[in-house]
Symmetry: C2
Subunit: 349 residues, 2 copies
């Protein structure tokens, strides 16, 4: 069962939870904000649902809540940091800010971080950079959780890729993992007793299936677009590891620590107003989005939307009516906020 | 029927064809090389098959074979050019070279070009930049040829996105359109009387289908990964138009000129050796590619490959045994080389 809880109450409860987990006050405030925003935007899997697992990772020493990123090197419009297994969220926000600063100076800015931890909702940083007025591109490499195309065993990460456009009338943001469905989404459908709308993987006999349980059993989640998502996933892995001089996915597999523990991330910011009049460019964005949204709908009750538009709607509703939280998850966050650290990992990948 | 023709013979015949189309000698040499390489790599659709349509576009005035890109503006690591509807291939090669030069100086380089024409095979430029030792990202916006997710009418381009990694033992290159299959591929399957291996679109009744003819009739090609390819396509469109201060996809739709006529393209090059030892980074790439290729195969006769590896194999075979060309296409190229410009458009999108 889900309930709605006021944004400020969720945020404050999360803040107390992070402090009890051992996160310093300034970072606890930031993490509480980000996780609450993710749930408010409808990405509960990497919002509140993920906090118990974060607590577990801190307890296991997989996340160092006191570590700060340190500069490894820089060249022109590019910088590289070591994340020292610090909090993925605060490390990634730091990198986003640096990418923005570099883009302000050089037109484009690139920040690579290695040895960091799970950044939670991937889109967070592209959204932030777009809200700051910049085009953003970011991605991550992770341990293997998806079969390469042609394989039946997990052999590449589902490495999310994000791109965001700073439209004043609503940012356009893509935040896509390289698997057609996340494991978390499979769980949601399984619990609801529903089939996936489209095939999400292969069953153990190698047939494409919409049955979430069959895919969880086979561990053969489908790359998005079959061979295409598989190809893009391995290329993003190599690029992230190479630019950051960090670990590639198979290195992470060998270490076999937590999800994304020791991974690499890339943040690119681009000044969108270098070569055009800002007002004209905004008019162009509005014109293009309006044309897309006016595309003839299959179902008139479900008009076409550009990526990000529905998120902004959900965000608005969450701020007005409260953030949707799962009752079980909420009970655990409240326990953490009350000081009980015996959390169970209910997070979904 | 396909035949194999020696690379040098294909290249020389194409060079004569481009000269007869009116392309100046230096550019004819470059275009011949690029189109021959695309066919040699197995991308005939944008190699030799595309030359007759190029001739048609030149005749119609949609491509100005004498135009050169001119600098519109620059900021730090970024430059913007106007392509003046010059030859897409030579314009894009110019931009790739500029991106490399900027990346050498600033660590990362961004070049945006507006008002250019079809760059033929998208991967050409990422391959070139990777061969020059740089990580490359590039994409394009095009007129609408694919329904947005939720629509049944073409409303966004299938905007290809490319990313390449400079591995000495074989570049890793992704060159992916945002549709699951190109129209050209549908034609190949239809002519062969075969079904697509996976659903490639909706029929006119709205059912997913593997029947290429049904998709050609409905014009409802499937975005790669359903909603994901649709979302990425519109974001790439907006980003390309915004950075280049060029035309967005719906502007191109309104002008309704040729395929990609007046489009925008983005070229990003990244120095991959800024923060790590080049030899160690190459070892990491080899280690990761080897792990991926060692992923347990579904079919032992079809081992897993990283993107680009099969292309390099095909290229090798083409250089040894000749380039595969369709007999009809080859006859047309030979006619063009002999001075007969009454070509029929046999190109496929």
């Amino acid at each position: 069962m889900s309930i709605r809880v006021p944004f400020s109450e969720v945020e404050e409860t999360c803040r107390k939870a992070f402090i009890n987990i051992g996160v310093p006050e300034d970072k606890a405030r930031i993490c509480a904000r980000i996780h609450t925003e993710s749930s408010a935007d409808g990405v509960e899997s990497h919002g509140l649902n993920r906090i118990p697992r974060f607590a577990e990772y801190v307890q296991k020493g997989l996340v160092d809540v006191h570590a700060e990123p340190t500069l490894v090197g820089s060249k022109g419009a590019a910088e590289n940091y070591d994340g020292h297994l610090g909090i993925g969220v605060t490390n990634a926000l730091f990198c986003s800010d640096r990418a923005l600063a570099l883009a302000k100076e050089h037109g484009i800015g690139l920040v690579a971080i290695r040895n960091t931890t799970h950044w939670m909702r991937g889109g967070t940083y592209a959204w932030k950079m777009a809200k700051a007025g910049f085009i953003a591109i970011s991605w991550i490499n992770t341990e293997s959780c998806m079969p390469m195309w042609g394989s039946d065993k997990p052999s590449v990460g589902n490495n999310p890729f994000c791109i965001a456009i700073p439209r004043k009338n609503g940012e356009i943001v893509v935040d896509m993992a390289m698997s057609q469905y996340a494991y978390g989404k499979l769980g949601v459908y399984r619990l609801a007793g529903r089939q996936l709308p489209y095939p999400g993987g292969f069953d153990k006999d190698g047939n494409l299936t919409t049955d979430p349980r069959a895919i969880e059993d086979s561990m053969r989640i489908l790359p998005t677009g079959y061979w295409k998502g598989s190809s893009l996933a391995i290329a993003l892995d190599l690029a992230a590891a190479m630019i950051s001089a960090g670990k590639c996915g198979s290195d992470l597999d060998e270490e076999h620590r937590g999800s994304c523990t020791g991974c690499s991330q890339i943040f690119i910011a681009i000044d969108p107003n270098m070569f055009g009049d800002p007002d004209e460019l905004q008019k162009m964005l509005d014109r293009r989005v309006a044309a897309a949204d006016a595309a003839h709908p299959i179902n008139p009750a479900r008009p076409v939307k550009c990526p990000g538009e529905n998120t902004i709607e959900r965000r608005k509703k969450s701020l007005e009516d409260g953030v949707v939280v799962d009752e079980n998850v909420w009970a655990q966050i409240q326990s953490l906020a009350a000081g009980d650290l015996n959390v169970r990992d209910i997070a979904s990948k």
